[in-house]
Subunit: 170 residues, 2 copies
């Protein structure tokens, strides 16, 4: 077991057993998400936890790569509050929400669950679709949706880094 | 030890012992960073590893919150290649780079190192400052700089999540 296997073991999981994810586990996952750093500690992330199958179905209809979302026992919509973000900057809001999402995905893996990150922002149709379903105010901007469940597939850990993406400046 | 302590233990570290970080360790950290998911697997992240004290000093002069950067034995500049990002979208580029940065920070913690994320994007002066130092082409956009070293301070693990940021939609 490599020290960093908790990272290499995270893979996108799109098939789930029927088992439910209990509320305490979801609270742990969100605590992990909110332990990410954020620009000037503004913590602009907001989370909508969805169990309702019909709502998951509705969400999936606006996400071309998320047709399997209703198979997951829970979906979490990650939004940013642009009014809470440092300097009201979209860039900071996206960086903060993405760090939180990555924490969430690694926590999912560590707890024996599986997840898949479905992109929303910057696709205007997807943003509008999610905003309409949840009647979100203007300042709350959907960034992504995470499908979560107990995994019914077990892809191997993977390292796919490329040396060509690194410049050594000594 | 909580299962998720690998996340709660990550804290911003701004004081370092003089000990060097070896190349193999840095390669591990970057492999962890590049194991983050990215939109359509475009992996638009690019990394500049900096050991040179004068260069770290120069970088720090453009980062108001990064005066301690030259105290770190190594700094990593994370950039995005907007031409490689999915649909050439800045939003995807930022999301992908931020997920990679969060992986990097957690890997740092797991290996007994400490780090601090210094923001660059979207501040135009900071972006230009970094681009000038490394003579970066137009498509390579600096996102952040990570100061890394062996920690000379040991803040306690922390959970700072707020229940009010969660909406339960059953």
């Amino acid at each position: 077991m490599n020290n960093l296997d908790f990272i290499f073991q995270r893979r996108s999981i799109r098939k789930y057993t029927g088992e439910a994810v209990d509320k305490k586990t979801i609270e742990q996952l969100l605590s992990a998400a909110m332990s990410a750093p954020s620009a000037c500690a503004k913590d602009p992330w907001r989370f909508i936890v969805v169990h309702n199958k019909e709502t998951l179905q509705k969400i999936s209809e606006g996400l071309p790569n998320g047709k399997f979302l209703p198979d997951a026992p829970v979906g979490i919509v990650i939004c940013g509050d642009i009014e809470s973000a440092h300097a009201n900057e979209l860039s900071y809001m996206l960086q903060d929400c993405s760090a939180a999402i990555e924490n969430l995905l690694l926590a999912v893996t560590a707890l024996g669950l599986g997840a898949c990150w479905l992109g929303v922002h910057p696709r205007e149709d997807r943003v509008k679709h999610i905003k309409t379903i949840f009647k979100l105010p203007e300042n709350i901007i959907p960034v992504g949706v995470i499908a979560i469940g107990y995994p019914a597939e077990t892809p191997a850990p993977r390292q796919r880094g490329k040396a060509e993406y690194i410049t050594w400046h000594d």
